[in-house]
C-alpha cells in the first residue's frame, strides 16, 4: 500500500511546470524574507502597515452582529444586497454627481482586490496591454498578468509628485493597448491627481478608445485637496470602470467589501466571473456596509482629521531628519527618498529593521520607480510616529553619505 503523500515526490518541480508560467511571473517577493525577519522580532515599531489603526466604528460592527442574530447568514444576490447597491449609488451621486443604475451598473465585491481582478479578466484578451503608473499598488501588475495581459509601466517621480502624465501614457500606447489602470490617491506614494491631469488622461483614453480602470479606494483620505472621481469627468462614462470600497474610509479592511461601477455590459461580464468564483460578497459585511453608508459619515470626517495631523507630523519629521519627502495629499503614506544614505531601498529597510527596529516597506516592492524610496504608513499612534522618527533620524545620521 502506498503511503499518503508518496505520490507527491513524482510531481514535477516548479521548473518542470507544476506551477503555471504566469503565476511564476508574479512579483514575489524578495520582500518575503523581510516579512519573515519581522515576524520574529519584538519591540518593532511598524510603519509598514497598509490599513487604518482604528477598529471599525462600533455601530457598523453592531449592524453586522444584529444581522447574524436575525439569521442573515445566506448568500445574497450575486450583485449584492439591493439596498446596499442603492445606498452606494446614492452615495456616489451625492459625493461626485455621477449616476449609475443600482440594478445593472454596480457589483458588490470582496474588497477592491476582487473588483480589480474581475475588471481585468472581463476585458483583457491574451497579450492585451494595460498601462499603469510605476510605482503602483502591488496587485496592479499581478492582476493584469493573471488575466493573460501585459502590464506596461509609466515611470512617475518625486519631481512630479508621483502624478502620472497623459503624455507619458500616450507615448506607450501600441495597437495592443486595451486599458489604463490608475489608482489615486495612491498606495504607496500618497500622491493625488489634479482634475486637469485626469482630464488629460480622459482625453488620451477617448482618442485611443481605451478603457480606464480607476481604483479609488483611498478617495475619502485626502488632505487639503478635493478628490476628483475619474468617472465624474465629462464624456468618460462609457469607458470607465470605477472601483471603490469601505476598507480605508470606514476602517473596515477585514470585512472585505468593495464594489465596481461601470456601464451595464462591463458589469454583466464581471458579474458572470464573480458568480462562478465568489457567488456573493460576505452577507454580514454587506449589512455592515449599508450601516456605514447610512450613518458613518461623521466617523470618516473625524478619522480623516486625525490622519491629517499625523501626516503633517511625519512629513515634517522626515524632512527634519534629512529624508526628502514630497508632500503626500492622500491615503496614509509618506514616501521619502532614502538616496542620501547610498542604500537601495531593500537594504535600507532591512538594516533599519535590524538596527533600529523600525519597519518600513521598500519602495522597490511597488515597481522599479519605487527604488530609492520607502513607504511609511502614518496610521499609527503619534507616540509611535515620534519614536520611529527618532530612531530613523539616528539611523540616517549614521549612514548619511
Amino acid at each position: 500500500m502506498k503511503k499518503p503523500g508518496q505520490n507527491l515526490k513524482q510531481h514535477p518541480s516548479q521548473s518542470e511546470g507544476l506551477i503555471s508560467e504566469r503565476t511564476n511571473r508574479l512579483s514575489p517577493s524578495g520582500i518575503r524574507k523581510f516579512f519573515d525577519l519581522l515576524a520574529n522580532m519584538e519591540g518593532v515599531i511598524s510603519l509598514g502597515v497598509g490599513e487604518p489603526d482604528y477598529a471599525t466604528p462600533w455601530h457598523i460592527s453592531e449592524a453586522a452582529v444584529k444581522s447574524l442574530e436575525k439569521g442573515y447568514t445566506m448568500y445574497t444576490s450575486n450583485s449584492g444586497i439591493p439596498e446596499l447597491r442603492q445606498e452606494t449609488v446614492r452615495y456616489l451621486k451625492e459625493k461626485y454627481s455621477i449616476d449609475y443604475d443600482p440594478f445593472g451598473e454596480i457589483l458588490m465585491t470582496v474588497g477592491v482586490s476582487e473588483a480589480l481582478d474581475l475588471a481585468m479578466r472581463a476585458i483583457i484578451n491574451p497579450g492585451d496591454e494595460v498601462i499603469m503608473p510605476d510605482p503602483h499598488y502591488v496587485a496592479y501588475d499581478s492582476c493584469v498578468i493573471l488575466a493573460h495581459g501585459e502590464p506596461v509601466m509609466v515611470p512617475t517621480s518625486q519631481e512630479n509628485n508621483f502624478e502620472v502624465s497623459a503624455e507619458d501614457i500616450e507615448a506607450r500606447i501600441t495597437d495592443k493597448t486595451k486599458a489604463i489602470l490608475i489608482g489615486y490617491p495612491a498606495n504607496p506614494t500618497g500622491a493625488v491627481m489634479s482634475r486637469q491631469k485626469l482630464l488629460d488622461i480622459a482625453g488620451v483614453a477617448r482618442r485611443h478608445q481605451l478603457t480606464v480602470i480607476s481604483d479609488e479606494i483611498y478617495a475619502r483620505l485626502t488632505y487639503g485637496v478635493e478628490h476628483t472621481c475619474f468617472a465624474s469627468l465629462p464624456g468618460v462614462r462609457e469607458n470607465t470602470i470605477l472601483l471603490g470600497g469601505f476598507s480605508k474610509a470606514y476602517a473596515m479592511t477585514g470585512w472585505r467589501i468593495g464594489y465596481a461601477v461601470a456601464p451595464k455590459e462591463i458589469i454583466a461580464a464581471m458579474t458572470k466571473i464573480h458568480q462562478y468564483t465568489i457567488m456573493s460578497a460576505p452577507t454580514m459585511a454587506q449589512v455592515a456596509a449599508i450601516e456605514a453608508l447610512k450613518t458613518g459619515e461623521s466617523d470618516v470626517v473625524e478619522m480623516v482629521e486625525d490622519y491629517n495631523r499625523r501626516r503633517l507630523i511625519i512629513v515634517k519629521g522626515l524632512g527634519d531628519i534629512g529624508l526628502s519627502c514630497f508632500e503626500p495629499h492622500g491615503a496614509f503614506y509618506a514616501f521619502p527618498s532614502i538616496t542620501c544614505t547610498g542604500m537601495k531601498s531593500e537594504e535600507f529597510s532591512e538594516k533599519l529593521l535590524m538596527e533600529e527596529k523600525v519597519a518600513v516597506v521598500p519602495g522597490s516592492a511597488f515597481g522599479q520607480c519605487g527604488e530609492g524610496y520607502v513607504r511609511c504608513c502614518y496610521a499609527t499612534s503619534l507616540a509611535e510616529i515620534e519614536e520611529a522618527l527618532n530612531r530613523m533620524g539616528r539611523f540616517v545620521k549614521k549612514y548619511r553619505k
Partner: protein
Amino acid sequence: MLKDILKILENDARTTSQQIATMTGTPVSEVNKIIEQAEKDKIILKYKTVINWDRLEDEQVWALIEVRVKPEPEVGFDSIAERIARFEQVRSLFLASGTYDLLVVVVGKSEHKVADFVSQNLAHIEGVQGTVTHFVLKRYKDDGEILEGGEGVKRQPVIL
C-alpha cells in the same frame, strides 16, 4: 484654530506645542498664545490623566447621588449647587431633568466616608429635600476610555 487645538489637547494633553504647531500649520509662538489665552478664559481648566485606579487595588468608592432640592427665588438651583460643589469629595455635579434635580458624583476612600458626606454635609444644606445614593459597583468606561478592555486590535506588522 482654537477648536482644533482644544480637540488635540482634549485627546492627549501631553501633545507639545511644537507638535500642535506642525499639526495645525501654525507657528509655535501663536499656538502658545492661543493656549495661554484659553487658560485665562477658563476654556482650558486643567490638564489631567485618565487612570484606572482599580488596577492598583486602591480602594476608591464612587457614588452617584440624586438630590432633590427646592429652588430658591431668583437664583433657582444655582446657589444650592454652588454650595454642594465646594466639597472636595464632589467630582462632578450636574443639574438634570427628570425625577431629581441635581446629580452629584462623589469619590471617597470608603463607603463609610461617602455615607458620612451625605448624612453630615449634603442632607443639611438648606433647600435639599431628599437624596438617593447609588454606589458604583464597577466602572466600565470613564472619560471615553474603556477600563477593562480586551487586548486591543492586533494588526499584521506589514501589509502591502
